[in-house]
Each structure stands twice: as C-alpha cells, then as structure tokens.
Symmetry: C2
Subunit: 184 residues, 2 copies
C-alpha cells in the first residue's frame, strides 16, 4: 500500500496512539487503513457415497482438484458463500447442512471454512474457474492431486467421521513450508 | 474508495471480466481492489461459575457490557485473536478451550466467533478500551446492558448448554434493524 484510498495522498507505516501494531496511515487526511484476514468458504457436496470435486482452471494450483470454495464476499453469510462458490465453480446446487471444518492459516492470513452439503441434482458442469467437475467415491479421491491442505484435511476427516456415523466440527491450524505459502 | 492504494490514480467501479460483482478498479494500473468481510473474534472467559465481561470505553455501545472480542489481525489464528483481545481489553490470561459460536452478520459484512476459555488467574483489570472488567454469575449478567446481539446470543446458549452439561457449536445469522447496523 502506497497511497490513501480515500484522499490519494501518500501513506506511511506507523503505530497509531493506543494501538499495538503498525498500520498504513494517511499523511494528509489521517485515515488508518487496517488490513485483516480473509475467509475462504467452501462446500463438501455429497451425492450418495460420493463427493463433488472441481479441477482448477486457475492459479494457484492449476490442474489440481479442490472442493468448491473461494473468498467470502461482503453482504453474504458463510453458508451463502459456500453455496455461491459451488454454483460458480461447478454450476451445482447444494443444500447447506452444517459447518464441518475451520482451519486457521496464519502464514497467509486466511481462515478456511467448509460446510457439509447435499448436492440437489446431477446437472453440474465446470464453471469458468474449473477444467472438470466430477463425483468421487472415497477410494477414487485423487489424494496426491488435491490443491490445498485444508481440502485434503477436510476430506480425510469427513470420510473418517462418515465411517463412525458422527460428524464433529474439525478445528485446526495449518502452517505450510515457505514454498507452498502462495497457494494456501 | 476513491484512489488506487497501489499507484494513487482514480478508481472506478466496474465488474471485471469473468467476475459477477462490481469492484473498485484502478483506471491507470488496473489493480482490482477486493473488499471482503471481517472477522470479530472473542472469548468466553470462565472462572468457576462466573464469566468475565468488559464494559466498553469506546464507541459503538460506549458503557455497555461485552465479552472481550475484536477484529482479527493478519498473521494470527482465531484462537490467538480471542486470547489477544482478552489480554488487551481485560489484561486477563485465558486458555482457549474450543470454538463455541459462529454468527454471520451479513448486513455489516462481519462474522463473529466466540471461544470457550478458562480464565487462568484473577489479576485482571480494564484495558484502554474498557471502563470496568468484572466476573458475573448467570443471575447477575446485565442482559439489558449487553453491547451486541452476538454476545447476548452466545451467553444465552452458553448458560443453557452448561445446564445440560454439553457444549455444542452454535451457528446462526444475526440481522438487525437499520438503526442498529453500525454497532453489530
């Protein structure tokens, strides 16, 4: 950040009075520009014993498989975000069931949420950010070609819990080596 | 948003190709400035049968009581944010136990999280954003003087669950009338 988005003057980094962290502060109008973590929200779309995955048509992780997920938008709920991302990436309709997993990724200032959901019909097809969309049984999941740690953790817990017949909220921290930081 | 924080030129609102929402886009360098929901994270600090509350020394809701909570910062986890806010607002040390409540507040583009936590000692005192800090039994909670709906919902569920001896994750949407929108 170089300029104030409010008045266009230069910003400088300083710790405002009463604060404990350096912020970008406008040298002219004094606006403090806070930066905060972003939420990535997705769905685990279930159809019988299968899960819907999308193969990414965009970076990062082009060509790898993911649960439908993306950045939460203003003016929506987390459940709405999960259903919207599923519609965008897989042209699929889901009924959201329950929050299932929350992962902290402090090294990239993100929080990832995944919701259990029921796929409502089989009329799915790749959205603009997907190369392919397909249903996978547990045995067929491409574990070595999953795009993100939060997705592989969520799927691993999901199949374990399904065997137990009991779905508990999963909560954890994911910290990746430096060379994986960009993607999540 | 009027100016590009990257290059200082004017921004305009337009929907980028392949996107579905209008964004602030720089007329000179083309940077797209996304705006996303913010997370507010707090703790439910328990000491025996009592809960620690803070009386707000800042707007919004000056003078009303709240659980210690605030905006999550970059580079931290949600649990770290809950403990940090408790330290800042009440100079209190907590051990985080578990995620207890998640509320969507789409009208102000926020998500609120509260964690059950154990207060580790009684050496608390008001931080710079609090007028008072005190322990309350269920019967003594100032229900009519609580600052935020997410706090009153969390406390109501907490005491119900404590009676049942079982703490389940609470998840819900909070939408307030227009005149309450600013505060949360």
């Amino acid at each position: 950040m170089n300029y104030c988005s409010h008045c266009g003057a230069k910003v400088k980094q300083e710790t405002p009075p009463g604060d404990h962290l350096p912020r970008y502060v406008c040298s002219l109008c004094g606006t403090i520009h806070y930066e905060n973590p972003k939420m990535v929200v997705g769905a685990i779309p279930e159809w019988e014993d299968k899960i819907l995955l999308c193969r990414r048509a965009i970076e990062p992780r082009y060509g790898l498989w993911t649960l439908p997920a993306g950045f939460m938008e203003n003016d929506e709920t987390t459940a709405q975000a999960a259903a919207r991302e599923t519609a965008e990436e897989a042209h699929a309709r889901v009924e959201i069931v329950a929050l299932y997993a929350l992962y902290n990724l402090p090294h990239i200032s993100q929080v990832h949420l995944f919701f259990r959901s029921r796929l409502l019909d089989l009329d799915f097809m790749p959205g603009i950010e997907s190369l392919e969309v397909a249903l996978f049984s547990e045995a067929a999941i491409p574990w070595e070609e999953l795009a993100f740690s939060s997705v592989s953790n969520t799927l691993r817990h999901f199949f374990e819990d399904r065997r137990k017949g009991e779905f508990d909220l999963h909560f954890g921290d994911i910290t990746l080596p430096l060379d994986e930081k960009k993607g999540a």
